[in-house]
Subunit: 222 residues, 2 copies
Amino acid sequence: MSINDPEIPDIVIRRLPIYAQTLTYLTGEGVTTVSSSELGARIGVTAAQIRRDLSYFGEFGKQGKGYNVQFLLNQVRDILHLGHSWGVALVGVGLLGKAIVHYTGFKDKGFEIKALFDSDTRKLGGEEMGMTVNHFSKIPEIIPELGLNVAIVAVPAHSAQEVVDLLIKAGVKAILNYAPITVQVPADVRIRSLDPVAALQSMTYYLNPDPKARSRNGKHSK
Amino acid sequence: MSINDPEIPDIVIRRLPIYAQTLTYLTGEGVTTVSSSELGARIGVTAAQIRRDLSYFGEFGKQGKGYNVQFLLNQVRDILHLGHSWGVALVGVGLLGKAIVHYTGFKDKGFEIKALFDSDTRKLGGEEMGMTVNHFSKIPEIIPELGLNVAIVAVPAHSAQEVVDLLIKAGVKAILNYAPITVQVPADVRIRSLDPVAALQSMTYYLNPDPKARSRNGKHSK
């Protein structure tokens, strides 16, 4: 079975990092075996979902015996190439961009920011963590030079498509997008968007907007 | 049909904010009618998916005529209560927390940060955007006082569960979690995690880690 089997739904691939994270915590707690229902409870999916997800990658567990935590973790790490180190370009060095540069969680997990870009003349030539902030126009030069194929985009919505187009032309194949806009990419490029407002909105659906005077006309009395 | 129909899969609810965002851009571009395939291409899902998603909420489009953009936008906004304004507590005022406080996109979309919490004594009593930074221990007092039921958690992984437990006890029902850990919440509380490393890892699955010497053993020569 090919490891990049196109039949594996993307939604399953998206859950695998959460599996890796959770299994890592379990090993830290000294847990050696985990059932699909225990693992599901930790991750917030059903036991059936766990079994279905993992079935795409072969037989990891024995019926009634649960999964060997370390073995399963190694398998998931292998599938996701988690042992590999990736150089990353960061575009947008505003407040969010700075938080990203200084966040140690990326490098710890093999994602090392190696180039910074912005379009704000006040930021150009400045430094963050020993790296110079370059203008967007340097993307076509610097990204192939450093051989980067992963990028993080932390620019305002109105610049996002332009930046993404530049990155893709320069050879980037995986983009983490913080701009609150849906960006178009060709089929051979992966993009994931982290949009906090969209995440909040998908939760407020479940909340009662105003217990005293609930209305569905978008107005509220407060 | 009940608007909070439990039969509507959560994954559909998660896509609705993206629909709202995309439809808002379309109205801005003066587009009045959109087909399910055009909308799908914008959002990155199939036309069939669009039709299936929207069918949960009634009949929005006419066969062969596409959707009225403004009407569909109004409907999606109503379903998600997007006209409502929500007070939000922010826990964790580090670099990321500061970027969150200063990001205008929350307030613009009806999510107004109204209270700040941290555990770092160097930050306590300080101010951001006119709000005082309070200790975690004030959560049980301040959150019910302000009637907040939405919170953003931007603390390190090791504090996340403790903070989430405090928030839930204080009445919070929807949590946006930036800490890179899976947090346990009761069934009546919603949580969404934005984990940039997990998002990157779910994309590097599709990349060839080392074109010259591909291996699956987690080691690399560089």
